[in-house]
């Protein structure tokens, strides 16, 4: 990515962060690293939360988006409640997820495949249907991994805990009208 393009990417990102309640506090980050130390997934991330803000300031946000980082966030909100500057960092992560999805950079992330399968399932039924969600997820990632889930699926099945026939909500048509009224492309 050219320096101009990365600068634009950073500015576009900040515009969305500022729309979050207290999003403007991202400018008050003191790089203390409390967020990274609190994050249960940061050990597996190529860029931890503190480094994400450092990369943004250095005009290198594209590196974060191209790395394995954003979709590892598990939404536990530990960073958010501990940040001494009051930055709602979990919500900042959501903005990064949007940006990745929008730029088509999330192709290989399992977390992105899961989110996409989830949204498709909910759009079809008005509710989540777990069996369908997992089928979609494994088909779009590594289908052979579904085999390892068979023993658990059987244990759930014999206890009546496997949803075989998902039901649609009665007001699905109305819900879809509401969804269509929101102009939003994927990732936004």
């Amino acid at each position: 990515m050219s320096p101009t393009a990365t600068k634009q990417l950073g500015e576009e990102f900040l515009k969305h962060v500022y729309a979050i309640p207290h999003g403007e506090k991202i400018n008050q980050c003191i790089q203390c690293g409390t967020c990274s130390a609190s994050c249960p997934a940061s050990a597996a991330m190529e860029y931890g939360p503190r480094e994400i803000i450092a990369a943004l300031r250095a005009g290198m946000l594209d590196r974060v988006l191209n790395a394995n980082t954003v979709w590892l966030c598990v939404s536990c909100y530990s960073c958010t409640v501990r940040c001494p500057a009051g930055i709602p960092f979990t919500d900042v992560m959501y903005e990064l997820k949007h940006l990745e999805a929008e730029k088509g950079l999330s192709k290989r992330a399992n977390g992105a495949a899961m989110a996409k399968a989830f949204a498709e399932t909910v759009d079809r039924h008005g509710r989540n249907a777990e069996t369908e969600l997992l089928r979609k997820y494994y088909l779009s990632t590594k289908p052979w991994r579904a085999l390892a889930q068979i023993p658990l699926a059987l244990r759930l099945f014999f206890r009546g805990r496997l949803e075989l026939f998902p039901r649609k909500i009665k007001g699905l048509a109305g819900l879809l009208k509401m969804m269509a009224a929101i102009e939003e492309k994927e990732g936004r």
């Binding site: 997934a41 989110a115 949204a119 909910v122 206890r159 819900l175």
Partner: protein, 296 residues
């Protein structure tokens, strides 16, 4: 019999409670009934959006939650849920709609396109909070007919009961569930990991992360001498109960321990039977433990 005035709440079970975690739904309804709390299921509710819809289409995820809030507003009661994810997402929608006028107008415009509207007046509550803060100690203790004496419980609240919104409980060291479980007569073991993350969806998308995180919770609960772990979230419950074999292999220490919903513990203390609490759905030997330690 309980002599408190019945309190009425709209009830949002959430998708997970329909089939996979129906024991949470069954035991919640049973426990509420025993306490004289009326839980009226929200009419034709839809998915709250959870944490997974939001990154795909953010505004639409607010519309999903707002439709539920709109239905609840019509009913005129507070909206109760037992799922931590639903609890946070519904509250987040309330907060964003209150603080961001542009978003509020867009979401309300969308609701109107489907013949609904939401004025922002619904208070979203977790059932645990209702029990401890609205109902209180005396009413709960009065309903106990089979005290859980001698049962050692690790109370695991999960992330989203008290994060990011910390008005219900402490964001790092929650204590609301422990108070309730204590009133039931059980021994609450000190459990500092009560609000640590179980791994959430990473148990499926990145199993090595999920197993490490859930593994720590299971291992420490055992080390602290707990007989079981009580949960307040359907995703935490399945992560902690369904993968104990692979987690034990990954962690290298035994992680086997019964895991149940706090509502099942409560129902058992109220003298309800296995069926009323759907104990047969458990993947861990919950009923055997309760029968052995507390009595059937």
């Amino acid at each position: 019999m309980i002599r408190t005035t019945p309190q009425t709440y709209s009830y949002f079970p959430g998708c997970s409670l329909m089939v996979t975690n129906r024991a949470y739904d069954v035991s919640t309804r049973s426990a509420a009934r025993a306490l004289g709390i009326e839980m009226v299921e929200l009419d034709d509710w839809n998915c709250c959006g959870a944490t997974a819809y939001m990154p795909i289409r953010e505004k639409r995820s607010f519309v999903l939650s707002a439709r539920n809030l709109a239905i609840a507003e019509k009913h005129g009661h507070e909206l109760a849920t037992v799922c931590n994810a639903c609890f946070v997402v519904l509250r987040k929608t309330n907060k964003y709609m209150a603080e961001n006028a542009k978003l509020r107008d867009e979401v309300r415009g969308a609701l109107r396109a489907g013949g609904m509207d939401y004025g922002g007046t619904v208070r979203v509550r977790h059932f645990l909070e209702i029990l401890v803060k609205d109902l209180g100690e005396e009413a709960v203790r009065r309903a106990v007919t089979r005290p859980l004496t001698g049962l050692k419980v690790a109370c695991y609240s999960g992330c989203q009961l008290s994060r990011p919104f910390d008005d219900v409980d402490h964001p790092e060291f929650p204590e609301v569930m422990g108070r309730l479980v204590g009133w039931l007569g059980a021994e609450v073991v000190p459990f500092p990991l009560s609000a640590k993350c179980c791994g959430g969806m990473s148990m499926t998308t990145r199993p090595e992360i999920g197993r490490a995180l859930s593994g720590k919770i299971l291992r420490v609960a055992r080390e602290r001498g707990a007989d079981c772990i009580a949960t307040a979230c359907p995703l935490c419950q399945i992560n902690l109960e369904a993968y104990q074999g692979p987690i034990t292999a990954a962690v290298g220490a035994s992680c086997e321990i019964p895991v149940l919903y706090f509502t099942q513990l409560m129902g058992w203390a109220f003298g309800l039977d296995s069926k009323e609490l759907a104990l047969g759905d458990s993947l861990t030997p919950v009923e055997a433990l309760l029968t052995e330690k507390v009595g059937g």
